[in-house]
């Protein structure tokens, strides 16, 4: 799995494009969730999200925490409440990003969530707890449970994860738009990558390009021999070889790519990069409805040979969408890295979206190629490459 350095604040463009993702989309999701709640005898759901993993919360509310965390309280009927770890002055702005009317500032999410459940008459209810990102801080959860001793808690982490596996038409359109923006950034990045420049200067240029295109957040990892996040310690000047992992969040949806910029005519490196692209293409060819998810890993293993271990270390891919990494995971090990108890889906289906990548070392340099795809009835389709 590729992790970038998590930003303290999602400080890019913060808007809600209601044409791209209208309120009706959320109402439809909410109805399905409430049907599932009824089937499982749940009176309410408590959904935790933060600015690291917001997918479940955002899937129902369109809101994503900019900083720290938030909780959605979803009763089986009646008003949804959104508790956000922000100041009261920030509530009006938060309300521009969600259709939920009842948005409250909360300094103590656990305690305040308990109060909301009591207010809704759910102090003795059966409540599903959704925290698939494993982000809810322990003291907050303890406070919540201690305040509601008669609530029967049921882990429901996979309920929304399963719903999010196959993207709706609106979601696919959003992902394609993110992919289009990312493709433009990759094209633009080429001119910034010149030997002799400090790596953090190049990253600043790429970051600027992305932010000027209205991204909400960005992850950049780069290097000649290994991937690393931006650091003031990154004082080396770029040479003729630079591998870059780029992921952007645009209107809530993440898409990632991997590229290697080889500025020399070193034929071994050029052919290695060509090989990486071919292997990813072969992995992508397995993105067909009914195929086992495992077959992607098997394809990579067969093609990569001795380079498989390094590639697997960085991760060969994962589902992508409202989370930078989500189900389906390509292996149990990948799932475990992000705290998921399973790969989420063992068989591929239409409208799933996955990021695939190949990373290996050769001639003392890192080679990286990756792209994001949707599974269509006609096979794989890149979200970035036209």
């Amino acid at each position: 799995m590729i992790f970038g350095r998590h930003s303290v604040l999602k400080r890019g463009c913060s808007t809600w494009d209601k044409q791209q993702m209208p309120q009706e989309e959320y109402q439809g999701r909410l109805e399905i969730v409430r049907q599932k709640m009824a089937q499982q005898g749940l009176d309410a759901l408590v959904i935790y999200g933060d600015n690291y993993a917001y997918a479940d919360l955002c899937y129902l509310t369109n809101y994503f925490p900019k900083v720290r965390g938030g909780i959605g309280v979803i009763p089986r009927s009646g008003t949804i409440s959104l508790l956000l770890n922000i100041g009261s002055r920030d509530v009006p702005f938060a309300k521009t990003l969600t259709w939920v009317d009842d948005v409250r500032a909360s300094g103590h999410l656990g305690r305040d969530c308990a109060d909301v459940l009591k207010e809704k008459g759910l102090a003795q209810a059966k409540v599903g707890l959704v925290d698939s990102g494993k982000g809810m801080p322990l003291p907050q959860l303890e406070e919540l449970k201690e305040s509601l001793p008669q609530v029967q808690w049921q882990p429901s982490h996979s309920m929304l994860q399963q719903m999010r596996l196959q993207k709706s038409a609106k979601e696919l359109a959003a992902l394609r738009e993110t992919g289009r923006v990312l493709n433009e950034i990759c094209d633009g990045a080429r001119e910034f990558i010149n030997p002799g420049r400090r790596e953090y200067e190049i990253i600043a240029d790429i970051d600027r390009l992305a932010r000027d295109k209205g991204v909400e957040d960005i992850r950049i990892l780069s290097g000649e021999k290994r991937l690393q996040p931006p650091s003031f310690k990154m004082t080396a000047n770029a040479g003729n070889h630079w591998a870059v992992y780029l992921a952007i969040q645009h209107e809530r949806y993440w898409v990632e790519v991997g590229r290697t910029y080889i500025l020399s005519s070193e034929s071994k490196l050029q052919s290695a990069y060509q090989k990486a692209q071919e292997i990813v293409a072969q992995m992508a060819m397995q993105l067909k409805r009914g195929n086992s998810v495992k077959v992607i890993d098997e394809t990579a293993r067969k093609q990569l040979g001795e380079f498989y271990a390094t590639a697997a270390n960085y991760g060969l891919g994962n589902g992508i969408g409202l989370n930078q990494w989500e189900a389906p995971y390509l292996s149990e090990d990948e799932a475990r890295q992000v705290g998921s108890v399973s790969v989420g889906a063992s068989v591929l289906n239409e409208n799933m979206t996955l990021a695939l990548r190949v990373t290996f070392e050769t001639e003392g340099k890192l080679i990286l190629f990756g792209d994001s795809y949707e599974v269509t009835p006609d096979g794989p389709k890149s979200l970035t490459i036209k």
Binding site: V8, G135, R211
Partner: protein, 369 residues
């Protein structure tokens, strides 16, 4: 003091505190969820800022410390950036835990999820003592090593303000204004930024930027917070594009007066509340008592993680004594009914006697025709 001495000192102090608390092993956790109002304990002890969801430093009284982390591909960076020589994949942590490690303390429990904590308790056959006070107390006064980084971050923050002055113009979108600042600071080496820049002729509050197009007469407010080596410095400033609306300069003068009096009140040994009282008093005197509370303001300043966030929030209830070496932001940011929200603030270092601003940009409202 070089980095090696600095971290040797920190480890020596931690071990001393462990002995006092009769702890044989200390586990220090970070979740990779960086919060600029909270410490990153692992970074404080290792100089390594993790990217993965599970990083644990295991420190005993005698043995070499071990850093366990995910993802495994980041081990090489950890070995290079930190002084810790023994760096292992997080999976191998579990084999190292058990009764033999003695009484265990845990720092970073607040960032743990329940499943991980339960797994840890099972593996240890004990519930580790919450030992965060060890680092919270140790880190409250910044060392010269940290101050060097903070001064660099302060220079970058000032450069961010200057870039906004130079490049802000009518017709840009808010997120493009924010990108101007971000770009300047990143190109100078900033690793992260708790940054918000917005523009309106009557701002309600700071928030992340939208796609609103900047217009003549807009008041641009910014809270800019670059990070160097895990340490943040914040600066808050206000500028106007075009002709300011009547009263803007007059009302902004109240913020400047509040800032000056707030700094004057920040004497070493004084409580944090004294700064808040001085700032609030200025607004009360100007007739804005009812605006000295949320949602019209939040606090009058605060400590800044991911180093120590001492002294906490500058508010009436905070009686924490200001100590030499503490760094924090003083910001009389305020919504006023005539002008909307305006911002002014500097990160300060507590010297032997008083607060000295680390950021140098002029306090004047910057007007760009």
């Amino acid at each position: 003091m070089n980095a090696q001495q600095e971290f040797e000192n920190r480890i020596t102090k931690v071990r001393q505190a462990m002995r006092e608390k009769e702890l044989q092993t200390l586990l220090v956790f970070d979740s990779g969820r960086h919060n600029f109002l909270r410490m990153n304990y692992v970074a404080y002890l290792t100089d390594f800022i993790s990217v993965g969801p599970e990083t644990m430093l295991m420190l005993s009284l005698e043995d070499e410390p071990t850093l366990f982390l995910s993802p495994a591909w980041d081990i090489a960076r950890a070995k290079e950036e930190s002084w810790v020589k023994n760096v292992q994949p997080v999976d191998s942590l579990w084999n190292r835990l058990g009764n033999h490690i003695g009484k265990a303390g845990l720092i970073g429990r607040e960032a743990m999820n329940v499943d991980l904590h339960e797994e840890l308790v099972r593996a240890l056959s004990q519930t580790p003592v919450n030992a965060k006070d060890i680092l919270e107390n140790m880190a409250r006064r910044k060392s010269e090593f940290e101050l060097e980084r903070l001064r660099r971050a302060a220079t970058i923050a000032d450069a961010g303000v200057q870039a906004l002055h130079d490049d802000a113009r009518i017709g840009l979108k808010e997120f493009e204004l924010a990108a101007i600042v971000e770009y300047k600071m990143r190109s100078l080496g900033a690793e992260d930024n708790f940054g918000m820049v917005v523009a309106n002729n009557h701002n309600q509050a700071l928030h992340p930027p939208t796609d609103r197009v900047v217009q003549s007469g807009d008041i641009i407010i910014g809270e800019i917070t670059p990070c160097i080596g895990g340490l943040f410095v914040q600066i808050c400033r206000t500028m106007v594009l075009g002709k300011p609306a009547p009263l803007v300069n007059e009302k902004y003068a109240i913020l400047k007066k509040a800032m000056r009096l707030g700094l004057d009140a920040a004497k070493t040994g004084a409580p944090a509340s004294a700064v808040a009282a001085a700032i609030n008093g200025t607004f009360v005197e100007a007739g804005y008592e009812k605006y000295c509370q949320p949602p019209f303001m939040r606090v009058r300043g605060h400590g800044l993680g991911c180093g120590s966030s001492a002294p906490g929030n500058l508010e009436d209830e905070n009686k924490t004594k200001l100590e030499q070496g503490m760094t924090f932001i003083v910001h009389p940011n305020q919504y006023l009914p005539e002008t909307g929200y305006m911002t002014l603030g500097d990160t300060v270092e507590m010297t032997q006697s008083k607060a000295e601003p680390m950021t140098r940009s002029s306090w004047d409202i910057y007007v760009k025709d």
